[in-house]
């Protein structure tokens, strides 16, 4: 894998040589995230979010393992065990708030990562499998986050579980049996909390496995870059280490600054107050909402309000919600444009930004009660969401005239440098770093 000019691993010390000849782990690391992995030199900060997502996953796994040492998965003790963590366990409040807000920050990072992929056409050949594995990770993340939210057994935990599992009962004939199978009873109860705990513990490791597959698949063609032009030679790339480790480390620090600010000073800002009320199966909260990162999908679910074409509204909503994520799997074939980057696709770029706004609107509508004007806004926004991917994207990519592409990454980099400092133009080639030795 990788490019022919990638640096070869040569153990520096006898010890590393000894290890490398028996277990080539140093070689693997060197080729994956070390100097042996050439990366397009022009990738910008939006390309840092993949690494950040990996860090966020590790934070969730580590804090989660710790919380599991103190949590008690039983309807009668789950809520109290969370308060035990918050009040009595040494630094328990810190670890729990890190886990709680870590989930939100994981989604923030992943959503930015997805939109970066959309903007720069990262889903296109030859990276379709990378993209599809990413969609699988997103689905696993949503399932994991949903089940994790149930574990404290607060009001939103219980009613969230009730609402989400009820979605399955919309399926004709087999729906109700499936729902009962999922929750292990007629309503969410002890069987639900124990199975959700078990799955919530194991799914992150499944995600980790898919992440490894994704990185493996990514390392074959390497990253895309803001021009969308393929890497042509050594002058187009820089070794991952030290160039991108240094860059990623800066973004990691900034990420941690934002994460720490929220965790220490606004720890409950992203959560819902009702989840500090113990679950009560006899009293529904005035207004059930999922965690913020699921709101756009919740809005899509609720946008379908009329029975039509022999399918009742509820089932339409469920089909649409799942379709809204699954359609991403087909993106590489819905977009036929040969040009990857939206920097050279002025028409589609406009629609891209409309989509960004559209998803934000969906998120806003998802948080609002089901009344006018939110219902109608949600319907129009949902309409655009599907039209964007299923209708606009195929048509635009067929009719659009892209801007001229640069011949190579190095050329684009030089052109940019000239624009910034027209006097001090270095001769081509001299500005191009050779891989570090």
């Amino acid at each position: 894998m990788s490019f022919p000019w990638a640096e070869q691993y040569e153990p520096k010390s006898p010890l590393m040589k000894w290890i490398d000849s028996r277990l080539p782990l140093p070689r693997l690391v060197f080729n994956a995230v070390g100097a042996g992995y050439p990366v397009p030199r022009n990738i910008n900060i939006w390309y840092n979010f993949g690494v950040l997502a990996g860090v966020a996953l590790m934070i969730q796994i580590i804090t989660g393992i710790v919380l599991a040492m103190h949590y008690s998965a039983h309807v009668s003790t789950a809520f109290n065990s969370i308060e035990h963590i918050m009040r009595d366990v040494n630094s328990g409040w810190l670890i729990r708030y890190l886990h709680m807000n870590g989930a939100s920050f994981f989604f923030i990072v992943v959503y930015i990562h997805i939109f970066r992929g959309l903007y720069y056409g990262s889903y296109k050949a030859p990276r379709e499998v990378v993209w599809m594995l990413g969609v699988v990770i997103l689905l696993l993340m949503m399932a994991t986050a949903f089940m994790g939210y149930v574990l404290p057994w607060g009001q939103m935990s219980f009613w969230g579980a009730q609402v989400i599992t009820s979605l399955f009962s919309a399926i004709p004939l087999v729906g109700e049996p499936i729902r009962q199978w999922l929750v292990g009873g007629f309503a969410p109860d002890n069987a639900t909390i124990t199975r959700f705990f078990s799955l919530h513990y194991i799914l992150p490791f499944v995600i980790l496995g898919v992440v490894i597959l994704k990185i493996w698949a990514l390392h074959i063609p390497g990253s895309t870059n803001p021009t969308g032009v393929d890497v042509k030679g050594p002058q187009d790339t820089l070794p991952f280490h030290p160039y991108f480790t240094a860059k990623d480390f800066v973004s990691l620090c900034i990420y941690l600054l934002a994460f720490a600010t929220v965790t220490f000073f606004l720890p409950n800002a992203l959560g819902h107050p009702d989840n500090y009320i113990p679950a009560n199966p006899l009293s529904t909260p005035a207004h059930i909402v999922p965690e913020w990162y699921l709101l756009p999908f919740y809005a899509i679910l609720r946008a379908f309000t009329v029975d039509l074409l022999f399918i009742e509204a509820k089932l339409w909503g469920v089909i649409a919600m799942f379709s809204s994520i699954l359609l991403l799997l087909f993106l590489p074939w819905l977009d036929t444009s040969k040009v990857r980057s939206n920097a050279y696709r002025p028409l589609y770029r406009t629609f891209f930004w409309i989509l960004v706004v559209d998803v934000l609107v969906l998120g806003y509508v998802g948080a609002m009660p089901a009344e006018e004007p939110y219902v109608r806004i949600g319907q129009i926004a949902t309409m655009y969401y599907f039209a964007h991917f299923l209708i606009i994207l195929p048509i635009v990519s067929a009719i659009e005239k892209p801007l001229p592409l640069p011949n190579s990454i190095a050329e684009a980099v030089l052109a940019k440098a000239q624009k910034l400092a027209p006097q001090a133009t270095p001769a081509p080639g001299s500005a191009v770093a050779q891989p570090a030795e």
């Binding site: 710790v66 103190h70 035990h84 366990v89 040494n90 328990g92 670890i95 500005a431 770093a433 570090a436």
Partner: protein
């Protein structure tokens, strides 16, 4: 025009190295500090620590009787010795014992009749018999551990069997004549 860091020479190298080392050292210290709460969380939590002391009301204990209580999740025997038991304990030549201690050393001054010991055999941690009504008191009229046959005398001292030490006396105090606080 050398551009990769490894090719920069002279004073630059020193300054460059300083920044790299400072960054790395700072990050390493940060990681070390973050590790502290993640390790400390496994220590006993506040609710467990609040159980570090136990108060026992001994007003209802008659001579010759013992009560069992729990202190720090371990059984504790509080035994009120009879005059005969005290005499029996004092009649032993301390030098001949495996773990030489007098009864007076194992009780509070002036409270020779109150023997407070952990109910944990010093051999392998079983709970000895002898505190409850009708339980075997062993060959020395004190406690008897059924696991491997350790016999303790009326002062809770090891006399026979594999246990190496006398039954441990926990730290305790009389807060009044009828209440002791263990821990």
């Amino acid at each position: 025009m050398a551009t990769t860091p490894d090719e920069i020479e002279g004073g630059d190298v020193r300054r460059r190295d300083f920044i790299y080392i400072a960054t790395g050292a700072f990050a390493a210290v940060g990681a070390g500090v973050v590790a502290v709460p993640f390790i400390n969380q496994m220590n006993p939590s506040a609710d467990v620590r609040a159980m570090a002391t136990t108060e026992v009301d001994i007003s209802a204990v008659e001579p010759g009787m013992a009560i069992k209580t729990i202190w720090q999740s371990k059984p504790v025997f509080v035994k009120r010795l009879t005059a005969a038991e005290i005499a029996e304990a004092n009649s032993v030549d301390v030098k001949t014992l495996r773990d030489p201690e007098t009864l007076a050393e194992r009780t509070k001054p002036g409270k020779l009749e109150w023997l407070v010991t952990l109910g944990v055999c010093t051999h392998l941690g079983c709970v000895p018999l002898g505190a409850g009504q009708g339980e075997s008191k062993g060959d020395y009229n004190g406690y008897f551990c059924p696991c491997h046959g350790s016999h303790y005398d009326t002062a809770g001292r090891i006399r026979k069997g594999p246990a190496p030490l006398n039954l441990e006396v926990p730290p305790y105090e009389f807060t009044s004549d009828t209440v002791i606080e263990i821990g």
